[in-house]
């Protein structure tokens, strides 16, 4: 979701206004994806690097996120009716405590939904995600839940926050990943477009999808987990949810 500030500058309005417009665009795009039958959408909303921006803008973005998660929780019945499962990917411990609780609550409240999965990368970088996954796996071996020889690419893929996408769209003319989903995009079609995120239309989305359908490489079948890997994954999953429950609790 790139280009909110450039959009604000173009219209001579405040950057916060640009971020608001960017958020409105997100709900619009989600609706299109739901209508088109795309079951999982991931957005890059805030990078760990973005903490380097001036305090005022960072605070405004944290507040925007808090507001939106509060609204999501207020309208939880509607969200559940649509069947939207919300996942936040990133190092949550870097966020304000209040926002951590809101995020965890939202994830827990929508956990059972299965029509559309919305992943929001927040306080995220791809390198950080891989580093956290490495920690969980190494701890798994230390705690004898896993043998070192059970470690393979597939296990790492499953311990990351985000799954592999088929198509990645980057707006506003940038032609780099900016530390997004570095592990997951090894077979992904990358689609770069000049349009600014707040000005993204359904035609831009359809153009990206048509590009994908023309050029996507063949998909390879994944192997099944070994029993040892499966065992570890179940423990890993339940620990993950317990951690969120703990954040909500305190």
């Amino acid at each position: 979701m790139d280009g909110n500030r450039r959009y604000a500058k173009k219209l001579s309005v405040d950057s916060t206004e640009g971020h608001n417009k960017g958020f409105d665009k997100l709900s619009e795009v989600l609706k299109w994806c739901l209508d088109l039958g795309i079951p999982e959408v991931t957005v890059y909303a805030f990078s760990i690097e973005n903490f380097k921006r001036n305090q005022e803008e960072v605070d405004a973005l944290m507040e925007l996120a808090s507001d939106k998660f509060k609204r999501l929780l207020d309208e939880i019945d509607q969200i559940n009716e649509w069947g939207v499962r919300v996942q936040v990917a990133g190092r949550l411990s870097l966020l304000p405590v209040e926002l951590q609780a809101l995020v965890s609550k939202s994830m827990l409240a929508t956990r059972q939904n299965n029509k559309l999965q919305l992943n929001i990368a927040y306080s995220y970088t791809g390198r950080d995600e891989i580093s956290r996954a490495a920690s969980y796996i190494i701890d798994g071996v230390k705690n004898e839940e896993l043998k070192a020889d059970d470690i393979d690419e597939q296990l790492i893929s499953q311990t990351l926050d985000l799954r592999e996408p088929e198509l990645l769209v980057r707006t506003s003319g940038e032609v780099r990943l900016s530390d997004f989903m570095l592990w997951q995009i090894s077979k992904t079609v990358l689609y770069f477009t000049d349009v600014l995120w707040p000005e993204f239309t359904i035609w831009n989305l359809l153009a990206a999808i048509i590009h994908f359908q023309r050029h996507a490489p063949a998909v390879l079948q994944e192997n099944e987990n070994t029993p040892a890997q499966q065992d570890f994954m179940e423990k890993f999953e339940s620990r993950k949810w317990q951690k969120l429950e703990k954040i909500v609790g305190c």
């Binding site: 891989i130 592990w183 090894s186 990358l190």
Partner: protein, 197 residues
């Protein structure tokens, strides 16, 4: 060039690119002064035919000042005629240098065969990076990745290294020539990096 370019990667499809295409890219980079040029071998055929590439580059280099060094070969050739000449280091990477290597690194740490520093519950990217770098040759992260054809994908290229790399298409019609090469460098020069700010 306004922006430094230390490491250029070319995504190589041996069904499309000839050895002479690749050799020319190396020679042009030698002249422009890009110190690291790497080829990412999508089909797995380039690593097998590395010797052919080596010969082709040697053939094309005749008369061009500067040195070409292969990461896995002893140094040879290169003359400077008394002027300041450039050096290019060449590497060939493939999918197995990417995710597989990160998996190996995690396995080695788990087996305690590789030392790592972890100050809190979870590794920071910085901490994990320091350990992971023991498995890679010491080369800078690529600033520019060139591809040809309509499909842009990383094909598993070095996931840890490409977070800030610019992906730029090298001419639309599979035909590598000096103009398409310079055009891509020109485009790279115009890309503006904000580093999160």
């Amino acid at each position: 060039m306004k922006k430094k370019l230390k490491h250029l990667v070319v995504l190589v499809d041996t069904n499309v690119h000839s050895m002479s295409d690749l050799a020319l890219l190396v020679i042009w980079s030698l002249i422009v002064g890009i110190p690291f040029v790497s080829f990412h071998d999508i089909t797995g055929q380039l690593k097998k035919n590395e010797e052919d590439l080596f010969m082709e580059i040697e053939r094309r280099k005749k008369g061009v000042p500067g040195c070409i060094k292969w990461s896995n070969k002893p140094d040879l050739n290169g003359y400077t005629n008394g002027t300041q000449a450039h050096t290019v280091y060449i590497n060939i990477f493939s999918e197995s240098d990417g995710r597989l290597k990160i998996a190996q690194c995690i396995k080695l740490i788990a087996k305690e065969h590789l030392q790592s520093n972890r100050c809190s519950e979870e590794y920071t990217a910085q901490e994990f990076s320091e350990t992971l770098m023991h498995l890679y040759p010491s080369i800078p992260d690529p600033e520019l990745v060139l591809y040809t054809g309509p499909l842009c994908s990383t094909f598993g290229l070095l996931p840890w290294h490409i977070r800030l790399s610019e992906f730029i298409q090298l001419s639309v019609n599979h035909n590598i020539n000096i103009n398409s090469y310079l055009g891509a460098l020109y485009k790279y020069n115009k890309c503006d990096q904000r580093f999160g700010k």
